[in-house]
């Protein structure tokens, strides 16, 4: 890692284009001041096949003195940055990273793929299952293999039997198989019986429901007229009660509605007439209305009011020429309170409206 100093640069450039160092020196001595000058004017200098020198504006921000707990604002400033052209950036990005780094990335990759590690035992299990099935089918080498989709109970049982006499001769499987078949049939029988029971219970339930329905219908037919009359009576009574109850309620409800309608109007003096102004500020480079809002109101979202007050100067809230004189209006306290949900709602609505212009 060497350092190419200013003088080194001068020498190498002179060698490259076969001139004396004086000419190069005059050029280089003019280069940096002209770049800084251009930065101050335009804030960025783009040099082809090299990159862009840029001034990045850092917004002022609030901070707290750790020892005293006082809040104070750190002033904003401009930072000089250099963004190389994409081709150069790629060239540098592809520079050989050291061997240690390669190891690092390798280990990181292995760490980053824990899913594969987890999936390995899972696969093994599935493999085992298939293996077990294979073994079972091997054991049951007989033409009667319709029940290959064996239930787990079955698979376990034959499994235990061969382990009991693992060195069984060829004759023994034939002995085992009938047993397993018997078991199967027994299991099937056991399964069928509950099914039948279930069916019966369902039938019983259905029939009872039907009977009840029929009885109900019959009662309706017979007693329908009387019943209807009774119901009507009930209705009339309840309606009377309701009417009685509603009479005192009505004015209260109406009153509530009126209050709700009136509240936003009374609390939020929204259509503000911007007459008083706290401050005037020329919009600095890289600044935005939101920053001014934060500076003067303490909340970024309140920029909409600044925009409203300056609509004669600003066309679109995000397209403001640098140096525009912006007047910061004095807001009523009710609008300054951003924690108030009504204010938030209003501000959000206005923001959407103004951004769409």
């Amino acid at each position: 890692m060497d350092k190419l100093t200013w003088t080194d640069l001068r020498k190498t450039v002179a060698q490259r284009i076969n001139t004396d160092e004086k000419e190069v020196a005059t050029f280089l001595n003019a280069l940096i001041p002209s770049i800084t000058k251009a930065l101050q004017e335009d804030r960025q200098v783009r040099i082809t096949n090299f990159g862009t020198f840029k001034l990045q504006s850092i917004a002022p921000r609030k901070s707290v003195n750790v020892s005293t707990g006082e809040t104070f604002t750190l002033p904003g400033y401009d930072k000089l940055t250099f963004a190389p052209e994409s081709s150069i950036r790629e060239l540098i990005g592809n520079l050989n990273t050291t061997d240690i780094k390669g190891e690092k990335t390798a280990s990181a990759e292995s760490k980053a793929s824990p899913v594969d590690d987890n999936s390995v035992p899972l696969r093994k299990l599935s493999e085992q299952a298939s293996e077990i099935v294979d073994i079972l089918s091997d054991l049951g080498q007989n033409p009667k293999e319709p029940d290959q989709t064996a239930t787990p109970d079955e698979t376990e049982k034959p499994d235990s039997q061969p382990t009991g006499n693992p060195e069984a001769t060829d004759s023994q499987p034939t002995v085992i198989l009938p047993e397993t078949e018997q078991q199967k049939t027994e299991i099937i029988m056991h399964e069928e019986q509950p099914k039948q029971k279930k069916c019966r219970t369902w039938l019983v339930v259905g029939i009872t429901v039907l009977v009840f329905a029929l009885i109900l219908a019959a009662t309706f037919l017979f007693l329908g007229n009387r019943f209807m009359a009774w119901v009507e009576n009930l209705h009339n009574k309840s309606a009377n009660i309701e009417q009685v109850e509603q009479v005192p309620d009505e004015p209260i409800i109406v009153g509530d509605v009126i209050d709700e309608d009136a509240q936003p109007q009374s609390t939020l003096p929204y259509p503000v007439e911007y007459k008083e102004f706290i401050a005037k500020e020329r919009l600095p480079h890289g600044s935005r209305l939101a920053w001014l809002a934060r500076k003067y109101y303490g909340e970024r979202e309140l920029w909409v009011f600044i925009y409203e007050a300056n609509q004669n100067v600003i066309d679109h809230p995000s397209l403001i020429p640098v140096g525009t004189l912006i007047r910061i209006p004095k807001l009523p306290d009710a609008l300054m309170d951003y924690s108030n949900p009504e204010v938030k709602e209003l501000v959000d609505r206005l923001a959407i409206e103004y951004k769409q212009r």
């Binding site: 350092k3 284009i17 335009d42 040099i47 020198f53 990005g93």
Partner: protein, 91 residues
Amino acid sequence: MLTKDLITEIATQTGLTKKRTEELLNATTSIVVENLLKGNTVQLQNLGTLEVKEKNARVMVHPKTGERKMVPARKQLVLRPTATVKEMFNK
């Protein structure tokens, strides 16, 4: 400001021809880049030093899907401005 403007600016300041200044500028930039690619740091007087910085590999999280990805280690070109320049642009 673009390269053209810079060249005219320098040419008017120094009295060199535009062609010559362009050649000089191209030579300097190419030399600077070559040195950077070798891993050298380059001092630009009164402006700062250009150096290649190593960025460690890190885990990137996709903000929408929550997907995690490794961003491999890479190198980046960084300008460290000098104190005088910092002060010059300080508001």
